[in-house]
């Protein structure tokens, strides 16, 4: 094998984390790119999916000294965990959507941001349920090799993620380019006009938001089975991997880069933006010492600059949305 095992494990990490982000981005694209619902609480739905999956698939872990224990221990098979994660996130998203989708875009943003933050506070403090900031380690991977083989592990994870994203893209493409998806885009363009054409726009917004939330939950499941560990605060050096608002903002950049209403673009955007962040970690060792400490912060500052520059000059994205020519 010409590929160095260590490199492959590293690159594999990049791939499956990018795919998790891509699923988040697809969910957000459905909500905002297609339907015009600006969700600032992406991290919250991500969190629900991740913890639901964690509770569902881990073996029981009773409280012990130094470990508060957590809910769950059902040891469900992984696919069941995925379904549960999607249902939980989707249901919560529907509940959140009921009072909020009729609000103006900025009110929706504030409400969803507040929701995500409250959720994070609960996750940090409800220690008997979530094991608090210690987190839940040892979450099962798709295939457990005996003896443990990191190389094969990485390969399996990449395979599972790749298969998942391909299936998702097909299904979402089918849904989003259907007459149903057309109504969503109409709602984004001009909600009043769409109402006047006889569409119950509230129902469509509700569906889009709930489905987007379910996708974010699925991303949470993937996150859990590939990283095998979750905790609510996100380690300080990698604040974009976790459930902090920085995750939400990163997904925004990914979708803006990829283009609103462009599904493939969301995937590309995820790989590009996360790739940049992953690269900065890799190159950390080559950086001059004064810079080394600041790399994580510099990363986020660049995300900030990107957000500003993109929204001013290229808000429709780098990859354009295609014109739908009907035959």
């Amino acid at each position: 094998m010409a590929i160095d095992s260590g490199t492959w494990i590293n690159v594999g990490f990049y791939i499956y984390v990018s795919i998790a982000f891509a699923i988040l981005a697809l969910g957000f694209n459905l909500q905002w790119g297609y339907t015009g619902l600006f969700n600032a609480g992406i991290a919250g739905f991500f969190l629900i999916g991740a913890y639901t999956a964690a509770f569902a698939i881990t073996p029981p872990t009773p409280p012990s000294i130094g470990y508060p224990g957590h809910l769950g221990g059902f040891s469900f098979p992984l696919p069941v965990g995925a379904v549960l994660a999607m249902v939980a996130s989707g249901a919560v998203a529907a509940l959140v959507a009921l009072p909020t989708v009729r609000l103006r875009a900025d009110y929706l943003a504030i409400a969803t941001l507040a929701f995500a933050e409250v959720l994070r506070i609960f996750a940090i403090n409800l220690e008997s349920i979530t094991a608090g900031t210690i987190g839940i380690p040892g979450l099962p991977a798709p295939v457990e090799f005996n003896p443990p083989d990191a190389f094969l592990n990485a390969t399996v994870k990449v395979a599972v993620s790749a298969a998942l994203i391909l299936v998702l893209l097909l299904v979402l493409y089918f849904m989003a380019e259907s007459p149903w998806g057309r109504v969503l885009r109409a709602v984004r363009e001009d909600e009043e006009a769409t109402m006047a054409l006889g569409k119950n726009t509230f129902q469509y917004k509700l569906q889009a938001f709930a489905l987007g939330g379910a996708l974010m939950g699925l991303a949470g499941w993937l996150f859990v089975i590939t990283l095998n560990y979750i905790e609510p605060t996100g380690s300080s050096a990698a604040t974009t991997l976790g459930f902090a608002p920085a995750v939400t903002f990163s997904v925004w950049v990914m979708v803006i880069v990829g283009g609103a209403g462009n599904l493939r673009g969301s995937v590309v955007g995820a790989f590009v933006i996360y790739g940049f962040q992953w690269l900065s970690v890799q190159l950390k060792d080559f950086a001059p010492t004064e810079l080394k400490e600041g790399i994580p912060y510099l990363r986020l500052m660049i995300v900030g600059v990107l957000l500003i520059v993109l929204i001013i000059y290229r808000p429709e994205g780098i990859l354009r949305e295609r014109k739908r020519v009907l035959r």
């Binding site: 600006f38 009921l98 009072p99 909020t100 009729r102 609000l103 103006r104 875009a105 900025d106 009110y107 943003a109 504030i110 409400a111 941001l113 507040a114 929701f115 933050e117 409250v118 506070i121 609960f122 940090i124 403090n125 409800l126 220690e127 008997s128 909600e191 009043e192 509230f202 608002p245 920085a246 903002f249 925004w252 803006i256 400490e293 600041g294 912060y297 510099l298 986020l300 500052m301 995300v303 900030g304 600059v305 990107l306 957000l307 500003i308 929204i311 001013i312 808000p315």
Partner: protein, 387 residues
């Protein structure tokens, strides 16, 4: 208005008469003042009741609540001004507060000056930052709807927050202020000259200044007109560009002061502002976007509801009740619940105006319809036309 006849000049000078006329409370003012007094009396009775039930040490939470309210009010006024004039929610506001605190810290520590100087320098520096933000970024996003400025402000916030982080100050700092002992009022409650009294004074001072600015100065009136209706303001010859710059300067200066106050009652950390930004939004929404007076009311509601929920949360922590661990950490959720309630039932807040048009309230309407059906919704009616 003057009841003085020209033939007999009054004993007092005309100017004195004008002042007396200006300061005389109008009937509307009298009514609102009466309302405020009634609310205050009810509130004091409520506090007295609490003290009787749980002991007077419970009032420390009220004190903490008022202290937090002062900070939130100053911040909320700054936020609501920009929200009203530029029409967007400034998600960088928390980080601007942090920036203000750190600038003051720099002056306080590195230049070894009193915090008062730090506050002044910070106030002016942030005013400049605000104007720069408008010129470089937000002026280009005019007319693009509410979402693009939010995205840009998030970017600005990320830059500020991580810039401070990178500047090597990830540790927590405290302002250097003269050591002052707390004045004990009763066992369990202390009154700290600077932390408590200072915060109140600054808070009240800022509220009064804003009121004077908005009511009596030309700039203030121009700001109110612009916030009300931008096109109309432009049409009547108001220099809306200058008003916008003034609004940004005011907004960011207030942010800096609020940040300093926040640093005074706690510690300084790079995320200190971002941690409270949702509280400030909650105060602005509850009070009504664009209304500084609403911001005062909203700030009071938010600050008091958060702090005064602590005794209740502590009660919930008891093993015989809910055995909720770390219950006091949930106090920040209380203002959010209030805010969400307001968003559902009265999105324009206490002092805002309900929107005139479109009906996007299907949720509430459907709810009312389901709960109390409109009997004649589809009843067929016979009859001739005309009428």
């Amino acid at each position: 208005m003057s009841s003085v006849s020209e033939a007999n000049p009054p004993a007092e000078t005309p100017r004195l008469v004008r002042w007396r006329e200006a300061l005389r409370p109008t009937p509307r003012f009298r009514r609102q003042f009466l309302r405020a007094v009634i609310v205050a009396v009810i509130f004091l009775a409520f506090l007295a009741g609490l003290a009787a039930l749980f002991g007077i040490s419970i009032l420390q939470y009220t004190l903490a609540g008022f202290r937090l309210s002062s900070i939130v009010i100053v911040a909320a006024i700054g936020l609501t001004v920009i929200y009203g004039i530029r029409g967007f929610a400034n998600f960088a506001y928390g980080d601007l507060m942090t920036l203000g605190a750190y600038v003051a810290l720099f002056v306080n520590m590195n230049l070894a000056l009193s915090l008062i100087w730090g506050a002044i320098v910070s106030f002016l520096a942030l005013a400049v930052v605000g104007i720069l933000l408008e010129v470089l970024i937000f002026a280009r996003l005019e007319g693009r709807g509410p979402v693009p400025p939010i995205v840009a402000s998030v970017g600005v916030g990320l830059i500020i927050q991580n810039g401070i982080n990178w500047g090597g100050t990830t540790q927590q700092w405290i302002f250097r202020i003269p050591a002052v002992t707390e004045i004990p009022i009763v066992p369990g409650i202390g009154f700290h000259w600077i932390r408590d009294f200072g915060t109140f004074v600054v808070g009240i001072g800022f509220v009064v200044s804003v009121h004077i600015l908005l009511t009596y100065t030309n700039l203030g009136k121009a700001m109110r007109a612009t916030a009300d209706n931008l096109e109309l303001a432009k049409a009547t010859g108001i220099n809306t560009k200058r008003v916008t710059y003034a609004a940004w300067a005011l907004s960011c200066s207030f942010a800096s002061t609020a940040g300093i106050l926040l640093g005074l009652i706690g510690v300084l950390s790079p995320t200190m502002g971002f941690n409270v930004i949702l509280l400030i939004f909650a105060a602005v929404i509850v009070g009504g976007i664009g209304s500084p007076y609403g911001a005062v009311l909203g700030g009071l509601v938010i600050g008091l509801s958060q702090e005064m929920s602590v005794p209740l949360l502590i009660w919930l922590e008891r093993p015989d009740v809910l055995h909720l661990e770390h219950s006091t950490a949930y106090k920040v959720a209380i203002p959010f619940i209030v805010m969400i309630g307001v968003l559902i039932f009265r999105p324009w807040g206490i002092a805002g105006r309900p929107p005139a048009f479109a009906r996007r309230v299907f949720f509430m309407e459907r709810l009312t319809q389901v709960l109390g059906r409109r009997g004649d919704a589809t009843e067929p009616v016979q009859g001739e036309g005309g009428g």
